[in-house]
Chain length 440, copies 2
Amino acid sequence: MKEQKVKPSILPGFMELLPKDQILFNKMMDTIRRNYEKYGFVPLDTPLIEKSEVLLAKGGGETEKQIYRFTKGDTDLSLRFDLTVPLARYVAQHFSELNFPFRRYHIGKVYRGERNQKGRFREFYQCDIDIIGNGKLSIINDAEIPSIIYSTFKDLGFEDFTIHINNRKILNGFFESVKVDKKIEVLRIIDKLEKIGYDAVIKELEEIGIEKDSIERIMEFIGIKGSNDDILLKLKELNIENEQFLLGLDELNKVVHYIRCFNVPEKNFIIDLTIARGLDYYTGTVYETILNNYPQIGSVCSGGRYDNLAEFYTDQKLPGVGISIGLTRLFYQLREAEIIGENASSTLSEVLLIPMGETLDYSIEVANSLRNEGIVCEIYYEDAKIGKKFAYADKLNIPYVILIGEDELQRKMVSLKNMSTGAQNIIEISEAAETIKNRL
Amino acid sequence: MKEQKVKPSILPGFMELLPKDQILFNKMMDTIRRNYEKYGFVPLDTPLIEKSEVLLAKGGGETEKQIYRFTKGDTDLSLRFDLTVPLARYVAQHFSELNFPFRRYHIGKVYRGERNQKGRFREFYQCDIDIIGNGKLSIINDAEIPSIIYSTFKDLGFEDFTIHINNRKILNGFFESVKVDKKIEVLRIIDKLEKIGYDAVIKELEEIGIEKDSIERIMEFIGIKGSNDDILLKLKELNIENEQFLLGLDELNKVVHYIRCFNVPEKNFIIDLTIARGLDYYTGTVYETILNNYPQIGSVCSGGRYDNLAEFYTDQKLPGVGISIGLTRLFYQLREAEIIGENASSTLSEVLLIPMGETLDYSIEVANSLRNEGIVCEIYYEDAKIGKKFAYADKLNIPYVILIGEDELQRKMVSLKNMSTGAQNIIEISEAAETIKNRL
């Protein structure tokens, strides 16, 4: 009697990669990690499951509906939906054991029961950094963040990207100065400018009852363009006497000055008065990052400054600044657009050893030598025709094959075959190792 | 009115580390990964949440009770409880897109609702490798595995550990030869030898009705000791004509031969006829790894050979061999025993830059240079007394401080202070970079 099989499949909205893509994905993750570490951030890892009471302390909103929440025994549990809430909980919980400013990075999976839709994921990686101050945090940190974004995306292989920078205090102060009190609503509409265009923004502003005069001034304000210095000058020349506005402008001037100290090229960052990043969390500098040839992807790295990380858990005032890269979505988009993935390899192996005849002992000796040299290699042990063994190397895209027959064994040498050129030579093991290591 | 705060805490049975320990933990994980990659294994990453129907295809047993299982909408979901079932599902699902033998590693979190107990975790990392064959898989793979265990634990800093090796076919064949048909029960009892001792094993064998003669032969068999060659010889001299037994003995002879080819020192592996590794999964070679100075930790790396990875999902016959390191538990035990963690640092930063006076622009220039040299550094931006800045470096265990005052700025140099010796010198930036890089 034949057993009933269960159809092997995963849930919709979950990303699972074949080795070729997984290797690419991990390379990107390693690059991000290396850059985060270079700037002195320390790693954190928090549980994926937390008490619902803790994770949902802030409560309300879209997020709560999307959450994976369940009970085990009589405990109410939830899967984390971002890395910020766990950070807030962590810092509040371990406050006395941490040193401030606390610079942490966290690369991990988060969960949201999103509507099932192409390019939307229910399980995805976020790669976050945050710098948390105890009571206060220097504005210079806000200028270091773009330098980290720049360094990271450059290392990821991008040249043509722009970090868009704004300051919420400037926005808030400006709205106060034009006597608009529906700030949140107006910000939400302005945030859509890129998506819906000028006319639609004006129409929506009218719909929420903003006066004609104010709309004109708002559109003039968000229409301020030019070089970074031009924009800073035009903002100054608005002669707005609002305290928030002036504070924000001062911050933005400092941020721009120090971004330049960090050698971020002028073409890679721009003041953009239209970005606001969400509604009630950020309080100062905000960032978005656009790949200029692929604006349809949207922001690939966003974040900003906030006044109070952990207000739901502690009375400690913990201002911070941070960014997040949504790696799963970014990878998916880059892969779909075929920006990455060409000529990708399905293996990390640099060479496949193929023993022929009674040469396995010697072949293992050769593998030992290569591995001692740091070369990633594997031996084809299976009983198969030589063609099948070569096909294996070919399909995985392994750059070299080492053939070891009786002749090579006698002479204590190896036949090294370059799989792309087809060239094959009998050489010393050490020479083969050098060739493989120096191939790039 | 003051808001009610939520007490920041995590669930019992979940491990969360302070930066100092997290850095150590990640170093261990990196070491394991590097070794797995060196042997040509490719990375895999599967969803943490799967369909319950798929994850529990095998069904039954302790595991099912411990599982985190819940519904979202009308979908029955479970968190993975190991990395083997997801591998089986993955290989069955992607069978036609994979190349065999398929060598994969997977480092990820798994979930088990264990009884709440010190040293038991409900969320823990497993670090697995498996080699999966299509239809068949050479026995040489079974000999390569100990070489990977050896290389990994050596890199983790251990010297005195032993890989215990056995073969289930030898056990099965032996039991057949002594006409014991309660193999599973007998194996389970023998597996406890280390824990409960000889007398208790005999007692338990009597209790399940094994005859006195058979018990004597069993105890004689599992009492076979000596060097690896001694044991192989004694097994041969038992003159057991059982087919399974002879097949297993032949496999074990080959495995020992090739382990030696892989240069695993004789003192680091031993044939141990008492280990069986679970009851119904393994079918050939089995492994356990013991840290000889800390036997109480139990096996730190275990696994073995199985005939059929994915029988619940596919008719394809997929034999494999693999091992797993339970990293969370291992880390916890090593940390508790104070084997690791001494002089651990709370940062990855190699140097803290402290600007004094109006030298921030220049300080950032210095940081740029150091980071270009691959040095991990951070700048202390906050407004604070110099003592507090040094205290920060001290608490984090940052090995160097660079002081940059007006004098250093004028001379385009830096003051480099070694935090352990207290020595301080005004030197060129490049010299400082060299000193920091060469400190080890």
